[in-house]
């Protein structure tokens, strides 16, 4: 089953056409998307670096993860909201864009991974010493979020 009809329906939606036809809307929403990127970058990196034994090494992983959590969730919500708005303004372009599908795949994996495997590791850390597993989880997290960011940037270059 093709998603194309759904994407075309999105393109015809009032929100989509309004953003598409506005001079400023896309740029303004995209700026919000970038501001969210900076925050999510910090919230993810502080914890992943710690899992790798870098950065704030003197603090417990669980403490850092708890402190970063609201900023991670908050910025993710901003990114998804602004991201959906950006998508609505050009769904057909996205449908035929490989970077878009790379980004969406990485995003789905990153979100699932962050709130399952990584969450387990950051809450259990300290009770069990599994440094290799911690490092692997951090690397997978960084790789997935990098895929999201790089794919996202590349949507703009393609098509």
């Amino acid at each position: 089953m093709s998603l194309l009809p759904f994407f075309q329906w999105c393109e015809a939606s009032s929100v989509g056409t309004a953003i598409h036809n506005s001079t400023w809307a896309f740029a303004v929403i995209e700026s919000g998307h970038l501001l969210g990127l900076a925050v999510i970058g910090g919230a993810v990196l502080v914890v992943d670096l710690r899992l790798l034994g870098l950065g704030l090494r003197r603090q417990a992983v669980a403490d850092l993860a708890r402190d970063a959590q609201p900023w991670l969730v908050g910025s993710l919500l901003v990114m998804v909201t602004t991201g959906v708005a950006l998508f609505l303004s050009e769904p057909t372009k996205c449908y035929y864009s490989t970077p878009f599908w790379v980004k969406m795949t990485c995003l789905a994996l990153a979100i699932v991974f962050t709130f399952t495997v990584r969450r387990n590791v950051t809450t259990a850390a300290g009770t069990r010493a599994r440094p290799l597993w911690d490092k692997l989880v951090a690397l997978v997290s960084l790789a997935l979020w990098f895929g999201v960011g790089a794919g996202g940037r590349w949507i703009g270059f393609s098509g």
Partner: protein
């Protein structure tokens, strides 16, 4: 699109006046490397991607530090730990930002120089640097006295808030450079726009 000038090495003959760097930018735009980067299929997008993604490292860390200064996150982490442990990552990210940013300017010097958002970004960068310097020279010098405070003193909170605002403006104006709303070749523009962007408009001074 720019017409392609002959690929001869040209010495800089412009007049480096203290008010306008335009002749310098025009000379830069005609250098071999600038043209190559400008016309490259992959190099320019790669440099731009590196610039955007390093934002996560540099501004991301700066945001965590600023939020700590505001007492909004990492409250139980000593401020000196945040600066000493995250500082090197911020510094490395900043170096990458400056190098990739300079390359982006190098690829499109004249249009960037005459871009109102680019100018706003450069001014805000200076202010962000000034803010960081003032913080270093004042509140941070007495950090031992408030290192463990859950909410740092007023001067530190102001520095953190200013930093957040300035970097937000830098990010937004940086993104806006890509849009040509106020470009010099889109006339007529309000005279204040032309003046701010340094446009040389026929018929005006």
């Amino acid at each position: 699109m720019r017409t392609i000038p002959p690929l001869t090495r040209q010495p800089f003959r412009g007049n480096l006046s203290p008010v306008s760097l335009l002749p310098f930018c025009e000379w830069l735009a005609n250098t071999r490397g600038s043209i190559a980067l400008h016309e490259s299929l992959y190099m320019y997008p790669l440099v731009e991607s590196a610039h955007v993604l390093t934002l996560c490292v540099f501004v991301g860390m700066a945001v965590m530090l600023d939020l700590r200064l505001l007492g909004l996150t990492l409250r139980r982490v000593p401020l000196s730990d945040v600066t000493s442990r995250l500082g090197p990552w911020m510094a490395a990210g900043f170096v990458v930002m400056v190098i990739t940013g300079s390359l982006l300017f190098y690829a499109i010097p004249v249009r960037s120089y005459q871009n109102i958002f680019f100018r706003i970004k450069m001014i805000m960068l200076c202010l962000a640097g000034l803010n960081a310097w003032v913080f270093q020279a004042t509140a941070h010098r007495r950090v031992a006295a408030w290192d463990l405070d859950l909410v740092p003193p007023r001067a530190a909170r102001i520095a953190g808030a200013l930093s957040l605002v300035l970097w937000a403006i830098i990010i937004v104006s940086g993104r806006m450079i890509a849009y040509n709303w106020f470009d010099c070749d889109k006339q007529p523009q309000p005279s204040i726009v032309n003046r701010a962007a340094g446009c040389v408009v026929a018929g005006s001074r």
